[in-house]
Symmetry: C2
Subunit: 499 residues, 2 copies
């Protein structure tokens, strides 16, 4: 055919144009593993929140609130958290190094900071160049030094992978370790839904282990051993144990002895341990001890070498802590105890996406190696981070206290992370109303909360929970207390209406 557009021939094609067109793809044509993946943090409730936000902008009087409060996701800078000046000054210099030649800029920036940016640039080159797929060697070295200092046990830059947030580390690990439904991954319930989503994508089996809500969401290692045995009896080989510490969505912190017990189970059953430790800086009560540290202690204590073959991947991120730099997509993974060939396979997977964002890599280094006392940049850094820590601690307490005044709500005391995960006692009427709408009862509660107050949360069913119990996950990042009061008022009305 010859194509003619507005009188002028556009091109001449070779093929006869007399075919019958095929139809479009529909869901049933797609990868069932992808279809099965669910990610509640950005699921039905948050999508409805976006619709309401648009409606609010168009017609403020059409909804009974004046803003959407995104308590569904740990995204501090979307709410009122300001980025740390130290991070952003360095990043501005990395993006536009010529600022270092501008006296007015250099005079207003701390000297140590400018020196540091210079030194980083020497090793990075340009943040616009692809780096090594495992990350810039100099930055990896700094991460290894941080871990060595944090734990008191040596870490090597060869074992550090800089990643685009912790999510891409999870994606590489779960992909490499999955051989289909016969491979099982022990995941906590409740869990961060990234894990079930990634397992669905890889068509592997989730082996849920329940956290004990009444005992600060703790883990019983012997129950893990039992799950491994039971899975084996059903033809599923447990090959990975996911620990989230501090917990998401629970906010609980694991005790070192619990970690040691879990490592013994991992050592005996050859489980790869994925330690999701992205909330390690968000600690309000107790102490964070890394899985790497406990593993190193066990290796030192047990001279028989029982713990030498434990394979551990621990993850960290710039998105949480007091950084809250979610949009920069920075993170790292440390590998311990893996065969060299397995490490090489992970590097190959990373290389297929070329490299993690280079500015995000630099941010990881800034996060784990902050200014120290005596440096010009220290005072402001300390003031800002302290203020964020204090605000998070205060908000978590206030919200916790509010929950404990609400009828039928109970909540564990927050220890860490950015979330509370209160339990809700819901009435028969709630069950019935939810069923009418094809919702879980806790999803119905979240939907009602959203429609009435603009507060967007995630139902416990998105994270998993003991059957017959209902929860809700909320961050405590939103500023002020007015929204907490709104929630209380809503709750009272909700309970009354559903008696």
């Amino acid at each position: 055919m010859t194509c003619v557009l507005s009188g002028k021939p556009v091109f001449k094609t070779q093929i006869q144009n007399s075919f019958v067109p095929a139809s479009r793809l529909v869901d049933s044509d797609l990868n069932p593993n992808a279809l099965n993946a669910k990610y509640a943090v950005r699921g039905r409730i948050p999508i409805r929140a976006e619709e309401l936000r648009a409606q609010l902008a168009q017609d403020p009087s059409s909804v009974p609130f004046d803003k959407i409060i995104n308590a569904n996701i740990g995204n501090p800078q979307q709410l009122d958290q300001k980025p740390l000046t130290f991070y952003r000054q360095v990043l501005s210099l990395l993006e536009y190094p010529e600022l270092m030649d501008n006296k007015a800029v250099v005079d207003t920036f701390p000297k140590d900071l400018v020196e540091r940016a210079k030194k980083m640039l020497e090793s990075i080159g340009s943040v616009g160049a692809y780096s090594h797929s495992q990350g810039v060697p100099y930055l990896r070295e700094s991460v290894a030094n941080f871990i060595s200092k944090r734990d008191g046990y040596k870490s090597s830059p060869d074992d550090i992978f800089l990643t685009a947030g912790a999510s891409s580390a999870v994606s590489y690990l779960l992909n490499l370790l999955s051989l289909g439904p016969q491979t099982g991954f022990l995941i906590p319930i409740p869990q961060y839904p990234l894990y079930t989503a990634s397992l669905a994508l890889n068509n592997s089996t989730a082996l849920p282990y329940f956290l004990n809500e009444s005992d600060d969401w703790s883990i019983d290692a012997s129950s893990i051993a039992k799950i491994v045995q039971d899975a084996k009896a059903q033809g599923v080989e447990a090959r990975c144990l996911v620990l989230i510490n501090p917990g998401n969505p629970t906010g609980a912190i694991l005790k070192p002895e619990t970690i040691a017990d879990l490592l013994a189970v991992a050592a005996e059953h050859g489980l790869v341990v994925i330690a999701d430790e992205v909330y390690q800086e968000n600690v309000f009560k107790g102490e964070f001890v890394s899985v790497k540290k406990v593993l190193s202690q066990l290796k030192e204590l047990d001279r028989s070498g029982k713990f030498d073959k434990v394979q551990l991947a621990s993850l960290h991120s710039t998105s949480k802590g007091v950084s809250g730099e979610c949009g920069q997509r920075g993170g790292y993974m440390e590998l311990v105890g893996f065969e060299e060939s397995v490490r090489a396979q992970l590097l190959k997977l990373a290389s297929i996406s070329l490299c993690p964002p280079v500015a995000g890599q630099a941010l990881v280094e800034l996060m784990i190696n902050p200014p120290t006392e005596g440096q010009e940049s220290y005072e402001l850094y300390k003031k800002e981070t302290q203020a964020i820590s204090d605000a998070l601690r205060e908000r978590s307490s206030k919200l916790y206290e509010a929950f404990n005044t609400m009828e039928g709500v109970s909540c564990q005391q927050p220890e860490g992370a950015m979330y509370l995960f209160p339990s809700l006692t819901l009435s028969e009427k709630v069950y019935a109303e939810a069923a009418k709408l094809g919702m879980e009862p806790d999803e119905y509660y979240c939907a009602q909360l959203l429609e009435n107050t603009g507060i967007c949360t995630v139902p416990g069913s998105g994270f998993g929970q003991v059957e017959g119990t209902w929860h809700i996950r909320t961050t405590f990042l939103a500023p002020g207390t007015a929204w907490i009061e709104d929630w209380k008022t809503f709750h009272e009305k909700f309970v009354k209406q559903h008696k």
Copy 2:
């Protein structure tokens, strides 16, 4: 057991410590799909180049060259390309908006640029916040406007996904469309190995179609139709046609009539078209016409609606063009003709990685919406981009001419992209030497080139080639001409030694 370290009890564990430890995972325990994925751009030759770089740093006299030239990857800023001032000034303001309050900065930055950064920040909020998983709405709108203007056909922001480079778009698409070995993806040979790597990860079938080297690496649409039929006879359903235009590694540009022919095949057989158009700005000869534009023209011309159901995903990136901002991981995907539910599945996949780097998203907007004449930032922008274009054009010609003086080397004239892909005639002796080392003959050539000159390239076997032909892919990004002279000298010697 009770754990005691340096005399002080560390923790008490509940579990008896009398187990036999399990062994570590080895390759045979891993996902065979992941093991099968190969990615030559960061494969054996580049890994050896890194070893040589370290050796060079330690003992310069141990190698016969004074630097490694990374001609294996399109990574302009790793070589001598400077980032564009316009991009980086805006990014520095987005990273540290307080710079806008610094008179000395604002006075040295073009006014339109500061205004633009301000406006972007209003819609982005902070580059440290997670954005919508599909990308910041305002930035998507700008991308849609760019496409509408480029093609003369409307694009909608709802169809734009901002992505971490083009690679993550490929990853989502191939994952969603793969149902296992019975799903076939038509990929050009030679191809960019991201495609075969991603297909291996998804255990789907590559259906190679050969580009015609003697006809400027063109595509014969009727050969595609035949491959679809043959695949069907063997139980493989072709469901996707990958077009790389301008070509990687070939550097060739598709003619609109060829694209129209290919779209007719896609329409008839229900093939999703993935148009990898990341080199659309790297054009030396001829003209780039997008697949979207040709499809829109066909739809307008053929009132029977034959082309209405064609599903197209076209990809762009900030890594190439004159931007060369590889490390920032910016890109976009435009979807055309997909069912809404399929689009929703892609959004879900994107949401599992939360969001693309936000600074990278902003960079996409800067790239597709550059300063315009009359704006203060225009002159410098124009000067810098022109200089980069000119340098690339000049280097491509010089390298092309050099190849055509080398014995047994022939090369198509460069039209676009960042690569040349000359064909090598290799002797029996080369075959024999390569076989001794367990290498392909072209890999052996690349290895020898690297060991003797420090020039790192990728063998054609990493991209695919007609059996019995041998090629090498090289970028023409490295500055100067000394390395080209070194290559010529090496080649002469190599031919002599392998006669």
